[in-house]
């Protein structure tokens, strides 16, 4: 069945080299993402170093239970995604669609929980702006923490949203088209993106929710 074999573009020697090139390309994109988020992590680090008391006070006002549950949700979704990539490489496309939908469902659950958390914070006047209010001793720099918090979690949530949309799209392609017949590289790359988004949250979680929790 030569028509079912993975097509190799003319610039590559074989399918293995083509797949390696695709993976390298995805990691180049992820490197730009590392530096994109890195700039925000640097802003966080510099201001936390400069205003440690205000950042600790602000962090204790965040909802650690929501953050912890959301971390678990993303870690489990990454595990499901790993199995989806495995199903793709085994050419089990019905299972692939199911596992992708499971991953997307957990991603959506993350966004819903984050939404309730945001709603709580808006009600508590923790959204920076004219309505921002805190009785902390250094309100200006508590507001600075929350500015960084909203931007970093917001940009991360945007990445989760893009991921969920792509994953649902891929699930339907797995079920209703031959897009992934003997061709698992697109799913592997989608998996790399999703795992990267998970890694960003793995660092955001302790930095946002757990400054001086013990005191």
């Amino acid at each position: 069945m030569p028509s079912l074999a993975l097509p190799v573009e003319h610039q590559f020697d074989d399918a293995g080299q083509q797949r390696e090139a695709a993976t390298l390309g995805m990691w180049v994109f992820l490197s730009t993402e590392i530096l994109f988020f890195g700039g925000m992590f640097l802003a966080y680090t510099a201001y936390r170093y400069t205003y440690p008391q205000a950042f600790a006070e602000a962090s204790r006002q965040t909802l650690i239970a929501f953050g912890a549950v959301n971390t678990a949700v993303l870690l489990i979704s990454s595990t499901v995604m790993a199995f989806a990539v495995r199903a793709a490489s085994k050419n089990r496309r019905a299972l692939l669609g199911l596992l992708l939908l499971g991953t997307a469902g957990l991603g959506a659950l993350f966004l819903i929980i984050k939404g309730f958390e945001y709603a709580h914070e808006i009600k508590e006047h923790l959204l920076p702006g004219s309505r921002f209010y805190t009785n902390a001793s250094d309100p200006k720099h508590v507001e600075l923490f929350f500015s960084i918090y909203w931007v970093m979690t917001g940009v991360h949530a945007l990445h989760v949203t893009i991921g969920v949309v792509l994953i649902v799209f891929f699930a339907f392609r797995a079920w209703f088209t031959n897009a992934f017949l003997n061709r698992d590289t697109p799913v592997e790359l989608l998996g790399l993106y999703w795992h990267f988004v998970d890694i960003v949250w793995v660092f955001l979680f302790p930095l946002i929710y757990m400054i001086d929790r013990h005191s």
Partner: protein, 92 residues
């Protein structure tokens, strides 16, 4: 190489959740300035597990390791050089 045994993914997933529990527990113990160091060490471990097993870096050629390392190397340049400025401004 693409299809690792399901056991590896399950063990990695379980280890990640266990490390999450450890992070939360450690946050409520007063370790002074070490709290942040412990939390970041656990996060780096989790990130390494995700990259090595979920992202298959462990089973990839050294060229990919260079690409992966380059991103983090440049990130460390940005963090270290910028923070060396902030942390030395008070010196006189």
């Amino acid at each position: 190489m693409r299809a690792l045994s399901p056991r590896i993914y399950l063990i990695t997933g379980a280890a990640l959740l266990a490390l999450l529990g450890l992070t939360i527990a450690a946050a409520y113990i007063n370790l002074g300035p070490m709290n942040t160091a412990v939390a970041m060490t656990i996060s780096l471990t989790k990130a390494a597990l995700i990259m090595l097993f979920f992202m298959h870096v462990r089973y990839s050629k050294s060229l990919l390791w260079i690409f992966v390392g380059a991103g983090f190397f440049w990130l460390s340049i940005m963090l270290v050089l910028a923070m060396s400025d902030y942390m030395s401004r008070g010196w006189s």
